[in-house]
Structures are given as C-alpha cells and as structure tokens.
C-alpha cells in the first residue's frame, strides 16, 4: 500500500529532473545539518541477504540516533536495481519509521549503479542549496552499498565525476562531501570494477566487505553509522571527516 503523503516533507526536483522529498525548512530548528544518504542495491542478486540488508539499514539509523549529533542529521535512503526508488526523503531521525527499512527492498532487475549514485549526489546538492539559501551550514556523506557492477550505462562516469567535483568546490553550499562505496561481493572481478568506478569518479573511499554474512552486515551498519557521525562531527571545521578504517 502506498504511504500517505508526508506533510512535513517538500517534494523537490533536481537539475536532471530527479524527484526527491526532504523535510520542510520550517521544521528545521538547528543551525547546521549533515545530509546523510544511504543508497542500497535491491537487484535480484541480493535476495539471499535481503532481510539482513534491511536490518543493517535500520541498525544504522538506530545507531545514528545515539550520536550526540543526532539532532543535526538528515537521513535519506534510496534503493536501486534497474531504476532508483526513494525509501524515504531527507528526514530527521526521529521521524523515520522502522518500516521505512524493514520489508522495504523490492528485489529484481539489474544494477543502475551510476544512475543511483548520480541521483543521490544531485538530490544532496539540491537540498544543500535550499538549506544554504536559508543560511544553514551543511556537509554531506553518501554511502552506496552494492553487490554488483554497473549494468545500465545511462549515466556516464564523467557525469558523476563532474557532479562530485562541482560539489567539492561549492563550499558556500556544502562545506564538504564524502562519498563511500561499499562492495558486498565476494567476486574479485566485480570488486576490481567497483574500485575502477571509485577512481574514475572521485569517490572518497572504497570498502570491500567481501562475501556477505550476517555478521559482516552487522559490522557494516556499525561502519556506516560511525562514518555518518564522524562526518557530522567535522561540520564547521571546514574539512571533511577522515575515512574510517574498519575490518570486516
């Protein structure tokens, strides 16, 4: 059943006409926010660990709620296969429900990794611009979790690289941008292709989780929440956060 329209959210459109939702400015009381974005693969190949992946997303959100910076986080989640779907827009943690994650992934289709990355970055930049216009200070972290390589090729690596470059020179809009690519594949060839994608577009950090196990996805949630907290703690310093190293 479709969710009712959330009246606390605005429906926005990016320059490439991606539509996304985000908390209305009038509902934001702090002076600064970290825009955190989870981008999760829901292609057919994640079927063996769908429930664990959804749980890892929920655990990430719950861990972020314990952060001293919880009131300064706006979290968005999208899922992608052949297309990109918003699970929830940029929301304050207290307004995110468990069922925004549990049972949220719809398996099937291929891997539009490029478009999902492009969409996430454009939405982040667009919302950051809206916030900057209202004098909020923002930084951002986008974390992309995938078990496969690009299969659609409708967005080029150059387009993504340009977007990341643009974000990193727009200090007035976004103080810093961190992009993390997480590979949850035991396949060496896919891992190498993901590393190639990281280098081609300028992604900050590539994390190779390897073959998925429930324990590794639990640690992944820990890594993601720590990365988000670290990014938020760096807000106002003029620098991005230092990548967190984590053993899987």
């Amino acid at each position: 059943m479709p969710k009712l329209m959330d009246t606390d959210l605005d429906q926005l459109t990016t320059g490439s006409h991606y539509k996304f939702s985000a908390t209305k400015i009038d509902a934001l009381g702090a002076s600064e926010y970290t825009l955190a974005h989870l981008v999760v693969d829901e292609s057919g190949s994640v079927s063996n660990f769908k429930a664990e992946l959804e749980k890892a997303m929920l655990t990430t959100k719950q861990a972020c709620e314990k952060s001293p910076r919880a009131e300064n986080l706006l979290l968005r989640a999208t899922a992608f296969s052949s297309s990109v779907r918003e699970l929830h827009g940029f929301k304050l943690l207290k307004t995110i429900q468990d069922d925004d994650y549990i049972g949220a992934l719809r398996l099937g289709g291929s891997t539009a990794l490029h478009r999902a990355t492009h969409e996430a970055l454009e939405a982040t930049l667009a919302y950051a611009k809206t916030l900057a216009d209202q004098e909020f200070l923002t930084n951002a972290i986008t974390i992309i979790v995938t078990d496969g390589e690009e299969m659609e090729f409708d967005v080029t690596t150059d387009q993504i690289a340009e977007l990341i470059r643009k974000a990193r020179v727009s200090e007035k809009i976004l103080e810093s941008l961190t992009v993390v690519l997480v590979g949850i594949t035991g396949n060496q060839l896919t891992t190498r292709k993901l590393q190639g994608f990281q280098k081609a577009v300028g992604i900050t950090q590539f994390v190779d989780v390897g073959s998925v196990t429930p324990g590794k996805l639990a640690r992944l949630a820990q890594f993601v929440s720590q990365s988000i907290s670290s990014t938020s703690a760096a807000l106002g310093t003029g620098q991005g956060s230092k990548p967190i190293s984590f053993a899987f």
Partner: protein, 222 residues
C-alpha cells in the same frame, strides 16, 4: 542579556538589584572569583501587546553600553548607548560601595544616546545624537519601540563596534546593524543561524572581529 515576553508591571530598579545580588551571591561561592568577574552590560527588552493599536510595545533597558536594533518592514531603527570615556556603569559596581563611588567621581555620570534610522540596505535616513546625565547609575537608560508582527528586535553588545576590514579599517556599526536583524526564518535557533552565517561571510572576505559579541533577539510571529 535578557528578553522577557510579558508579565506584571515591571520595576527596572528592583529587577537590576535582584539580578546583581543573585549574581554576586553565585560568584561569592567561588573564592578565587573576584566581583569584577561580573563587570558586564545587561540589556533587557520587555515586549508587551499594545491592544489600543493592535501592535506591540517594547521597552528596552540598558545597564551598561550596547545597541538595540529593530527591523521593521521597510527600515531598521537602532539606538546605541555609550558612556563618556568609554566607561559604562556595570551593575557589579553596585556590589561594592568603593567601586561605585570611584566610578561616579571619575566618570561624572554622562552617557550618549545615538538614534539612527536606516533603510534595509543600511543607507542612513536619519540620525539624532544626545547626551544625558545620571545621578543614580542603577536607573537604566530606557528606549521604547513600537513593534508589529513580523518585526524583529535584537539586543547587541558593544562588540559590534569592533569589526575591521582585511585592511584594518574600522567598520561603522551602522553598516553592520541591519545584518544583525536580517533573519531568514524565525524557527529554532534563528539567531545562532544568522550569526554563524554572518561570521562565515566575514571570514570569506577577511573581515575581522576583535571583541566579544553577544546577541539576543525576538521576532514577532505572524
């Protein structure tokens, strides 16, 4: 700095005496802290509805030096209070007879009032300067402002007079005053948001600030 929204008839002198007595008691708990720790300006705005003309009435009390700024739809009105010899009377002087007496003998009991009206771009529309003498320094200087919904009132410490360009040229406080009440939205920590942005803007162009700065503000919601 204190903002009071409403309440019973206000006795400024009783308020001042009670405030400094309470502060003196708190400082007295710490042996190593001298009373001079409390040498600071106190600015207070009392905002009440004025039912006769469907608007609001703000009474601002100054104990020490500082600035009150009101942003209206089409202009900014500001009153700066200064003391002769740049020596404001701090309420803490009232805690020690010797300091109070020394102040009155040395300073002479004079303060200057500068009222300026600016357009929203900061261009001066009018200016009026006057001086007043005071005998009992605990009696504050009073300013009155008429406010309507949507207007903002800010109380700012004298730190606003200590901004300098990258070339070390002082920046007139009149040029900066409109920025202190240019709130985008009145939600949440709107004063901190405005001042943080102001600081980032200043930093980007090398503008420096050489004194502490306090700002409190109220916006009358529609």
């Amino acid at each position: 700095m204190t903002l009071l929204a409403s309440g019973p008839p206000f006795d400024a002198i009783a308020f001042a005496e009670a405030t400094i007595a309470k502060a003196g008691k708190a400082v007295g708990c710490f042996e190593s802290l001298p009373v001079s720790t409390l040498d600071a300006t106190l600015l207070l705005a009392l905002v009440r509805p004025d039912r006769t003309i469907d608007s609001f009435f703000a009474q601002v009390c100054f104990w020490g030096d500082g600035l009150a700024i009101v942003r209206k739809k089409d202009r900014v009105v500001a009153t700066m209070l200064r003391f002769a010899g740049n020596a404001p009377y701090y309420l803490s002087y009232s805690l020690e007879t010797s300091r109070r007496q020394a102040y009155l003998e040395h300073q002479g009991g004079r303060r200057q009032i500068l009222r300026v009206t600016l357009d929203l771009e900061g261009k001066e529309i009018s200016r009026e300067e006057s001086e007043e003498c005071f005998v009992d320094p605990i009696v504050p200087h009073h300013e009155q402002f008429s406010l309507e919904t949507g207007d903002s009132l800010a109380l700012v410490s004298d730190g606003i007079t200590q901004f300098f360009t990258a070339e070390n040229t002082p920046i007139l406080w009149e040029k900066l005053a409109p920025k202190f009440v240019d709130f985008k939205r009145p939600t949440g920590v709107f004063v901190r948001r405005r001042m943080n942005f102001f600081e980032r803007e200043n930093s980007a162009v090398g503008l420096r600030h050489l004194d502490d700065l306090s700002v409190a503000a109220i916006t009358l919601l529609r």
